[in-house]
């Protein structure tokens, strides 16, 4: 963060760094749980994997109070309008994790009804592989978002991060 300690009770830093530090440690996710990936997302929030360690335990079911959307599941064309509407309702800066194969690329659903990757209609920052991804892999995705915020990148415009499935 570029901290400089001048005396016992003062630090100096840049305001952008300070705000970025605060933002990255209080990412409130909007759980866009559409299908089975949502079960792993619940596990990610639960006591065993515990995303509270990274400051994002407050799952907000209102898009107006959240700044990270975890799209977890198969997005159909009919549902895509809902996902976009919820994304539009989130305040800036807003980040998107595409969780799992279906969300990232349509996955095994190569059919007429499923959108072949949500990046066709919303900007995505991190893609997490797996079907479904393990919760610890989703934590990795969250950390990548935190690193992006710490670097001062803009949501949707920075380089995409693709997280492999370690198992």
């Amino acid at each position: 963060m570029g901290l400089m300690k001048t005396s016992e009770s003062f630090i100096t830093t840049k305001i952008d760094d300070m705000i970025g530090w605060a933002r990255k440690n209080s990412l409130w996710p909007m759980p866009m749980g559409i299908s089975c990936c949502a079960i792993e997302m619940m596990s990610f929030a639960g006591p065993r994997y515990d995303c509270a360690r990274f400051g994002s335990e407050a799952f907000r079911f209102s898009p107006r109070q959240s700044d990270l959307m975890i799209v977890a599941g198969t997005v159909t064309y009919k549902m895509s309008h809902v996902v976009r509407k919820i994304y539009d309702q989130m305040p800036d800066p807003k980040w998107v994790i595409a969780m799992g194969a279906c969300t990232s690329s349509g996955g095994m659903y190569r059919v007429y009804s499923v959108v072949q990757g949500i990046d066709l209609f919303i900007p995505v920052d991190v893609y997490v592989a797996g079907c479904p991804p393990r919760p610890d892999n989703l934590i990795n995705g969250l950390i990548q978002i935190q690193k992006k915020i710490a670097r001062g990148e803009k949501p949707g415009q920075s380089e995409k991060v693709y997280i492999q499935d370690p198992s």
């Binding site: 895509s80 190569r110 007429y112 009804s113 209609f121």
Partner: protein
Amino acid sequence: MKNPDNRKKSIYKILLEFMKEKLLNKLNTHFKDSIESVNEFRNELTVFIKKNDIVKVCQFLRDDDELRFDSLRDVCGADQNKTGDRYEVIYNLYSLKNKFRLRLKVRIEEENPHVPSVTSVWPTADFEERETYDMFGIIFEGHPDLRRVYMPEEFEYHPLRKDFPLMGIPGSLPLPRK
């Protein structure tokens, strides 16, 4: 060597033997002209019914004291991909009293995909007929509210028809603006 005659009979086989004659006798006495054919495969009984008599036959099967097919388990469609009688509507019935399943089929021609609705007999047919309409474009006459279930209202095609491409028709399902 085991004698095949001594093998234990399947419960479904016993049930079929018990019910088949009684059921077909009743149908033959009341609806001789309505039955097109009877098919038996793997202890399952299928009866092809003429299209315009389906409600009458269903009403009888439900109300007859001995048969009591009081539960409509499923209605679905099929596209046989041939000219003439291209579509089928399939009714899977179950009798809670006799613990017996019966399948009714109706053949439907390609040019005129209409069939009478059985919602007046079993109200549960409502959503299943809507689904069949959505996927195959078969129109159920007398249905109270024939709308699509899965696909958007403005969608123009019927995806489970064999001439519908697997990946859909480009532009038929709009995405939100980016």
